[in-house]
């Protein structure tokens, strides 16, 4: 079904509601936009959050995501094309990226070994960092892949920053995710990621980031300080 729009809102328009994914802060639907396959990312009102607070956060993150998607592309990082920003309903319409989330690819026997995928992801994140951007929510659920390419999605927590600490937070979340969700391959996955990361940013930058990551880990509660 075709969707039309007017002004800055999709309010009242009918679009196909095939729920693709229920995320933490947004529901993602598949549909059609100007004749192209599209996803509708709707940042729903979260009833557990105070409405004043909820509105501010949803608005801020939707705008942030729209801006950062463009920045990511300028940095040479594959990310979905943005079709429309709905500032009333805090929603985005974006290109539909075929493929599977990296998280799911890792749970089935894939033709591409995980080390190759993580190395490629490392290169992508390094390009992002080199361009003065951090992703802010770097988990294996926010990477879509088919046999040919890796696409980074969900830039709602992304930020313009070149601070070492912020870069290291990206690395830390990825490490946390692979140890938590893919413990059997966590070491090889993270090492491959850092290999790719170093190929783009250089050995020195990559070691500095890794050191900062260790510093963050040592700051963790009840980490070994004895």
């Amino acid at each position: 079904m075709e969707t039309r729009h007017s002004g800055n809102s999709m309010e009242g328009l009918i679009f196909p509601r095939e729920l693709l994914y229920r995320g933490a802060e947004a529901d993602v639907y598949k549909g059609v936009w100007s004749g192209r396959d599209a996803v509708f990312k709707v940042r729903k009102r979260l009833s557990y959050r105070l409405p004043q607070l909820d509105n501010v956060i949803r608005g801020r993150r939707t705008m942030r995501e729209a801006q950062m998607l463009h920045r990511a592309k300028s940095a040479g990082v594959a990310s979905p094309h943005l079709f429309f920003v709905d500032t009333v309903n805090h929603s985005l319409v974006m290109e539909f990226v075929p493929g599977m989330r990296l998280k799911e690819v890792l749970s089935v026997a894939s033709e591409v070994p995980p080390s190759i995928l993580f190395e490629e992801l490392g290169r992508g994140v390094a390009r992002l960092h080199a361009a003065g951007l951090v992703h802010g929510d770097l988990t294996t659920a926010n990477v879509i892949t088919d046999a040919r390419r890796l696409v980074l999605v969900d830039f709602g927590l992304a930020n313009l920053t070149s601070k070492l600490e912020d870069r290291a937070v990206d690395l830390r979340l990825l490490k946390e995710t692979v140890t938590g969700a893919h413990p059997d391959m966590s070491v090889i996955a993270f090492d491959s990621f850092m290999d790719g990361y170093g190929q783009v940013l250089g050995k020195v930058e990559s070691l500095t980031a890794l050191k900062q990551l260790r510093r963050i880990e040592r700051r963790g509660r009840y980490a070994n300080v004895e």
Partner: protein
């Protein structure tokens, strides 16, 4: 035949002793709590002195209430860490003494694992996404491959510390969580405070500073409590929701002292419902630190053969949850 294990908890302000049976029945859960003066926190040495005074009385009471003789115990478990050194050492001393006296195995338990395992026992939860919120921890964890894995946590203060330090700044006596909750329930006036989510982690230190300043700036206490709770809990629930969307666990369980907060519970209940996951919370009387969490985890660990020789049974002030082996789970 039923087996009985005694568990000794002394990581912070609570000295507690509990007897559990191998079928999961908690036969006793005696405790005495050290109370610091208004406006100050736990002084580790003074807390340990208080534990020394309580120890014999509490242990005797737990045996008597359970109707179990010392000679009927099949193992002694104690909270080896993490926690305050002087306090932990009192519990370790008591446990070593009991193990030597009755010649039974001595089983070290990680305090945080204790909160989780007791929660699973009491709520009947099997494979949950766990939110552990207390004075010592604010963590989101799931079980995988012999460890509880951390998916998100606080980068600085815990939720318990946040509420406590704010309450003390306002002149309340610690623990302040319940008092802040009561005050918050009297306001609907939200004042914006810093909301800091970094990926799956949260940071509360900036929030604490701002809340203290707001109070010093003569914003009514109730309004600051309300705004502080709404902001801090929304942050914590948001990262929990991220972890839930990621893991797609069917059960969400909240444990630890702050789980007693009704506003936090209702927020997590709503959030879990949105994802079709079942929410459970550890019963109020077991949410705070207690011997039962150590005794039950000790029971599980003892069945898996975990033990430590009496001569080398020390304490670990820093013992991160995700470094504790869990041999009793598949």
């Amino acid at each position: 035949m039923k087996r009985f294990v005694i568990g000794i908890e002394s990581t912070a302000h609570t000295f507690s002793s509990s007897i559990v049976a191998s079928d999961g029945e908690i036969l006793s859960n005696s405790k005495e709590v050290y109370k610091p003066p208004a406006g100050s926190g736990i002084h580790p040495f003074e807390a340990s002195q208080s534990h020394r005074d309580s120890a014999a009385r509490v242990v005797a009471q737990s045996l008597e209430e359970a109707g179990v003789a010392g000679t009927e115990l099949s193992a002694v478990s104690y909270a080896m860490g993490p926690g305050l050194g002087p306090c932990l050492r009192v519990g370790a001393l008591v446990a070593r003494t009991l193990a030597a006296k009755y010649s039974i195995p001595l089983v070290p338990v990680n305090h945080a694992v204790g909160h989780i395992e007791l929660g699973c026992l009491l709520t009947g939860t099997v494979d949950p996404l766990v939110l552990l919120v207390s004075g010592g921890h604010s963590l989101i964890v799931v079980y995988a491959a012999k460890r509880w894995r951390i998916l998100g946590e606080t980068l600085d203060l815990t939720l318990g510390q946040l509420l406590d330090q704010f309450g003390r700044h306002a002149g309340l006596a610690s623990p302040c969580g319940a008092k802040v909750e009561v005050a918050a329930s009297k306001s609907r006036n939200y004042q914006e405070l810093p909301y800091t989510v970094k990926g799956n982690d949260v940071s509360f230190s900036g929030l604490l500073t701002s809340a203290k300043r707001m109070l010093d700036g003569r914003v009514p206490f109730e309004d600051v409590c309300f705004s502080l709770q709404e902001t801090a809990f929304a942050m914590m629930v948001e990262v929990t929701e991220r972890a839930l969307a990621f893991t797609q666990k069917r059960e969400v369980m909240v444990v630890g002292g702050v789980s007693a907060n009704r506003r936090l519970s209702s927020m997590i209940t709503e959030m879990s419902g949105r994802h079709g996951s079942e929410f459970s919370s550890v019963p109020l009387s077991y949410s705070g630190d207690c011997g039962a969490q150590i005794a039950w985890t000790g029971m599980l660990a003892d069945s898996a053969g975990v033990k430590v020789p009496v001569e080398s049974a020390g304490v670990r002030q820093s013992w991160r949850l995700d470094t504790a082996e869990i041999p009793w789970r598949d």
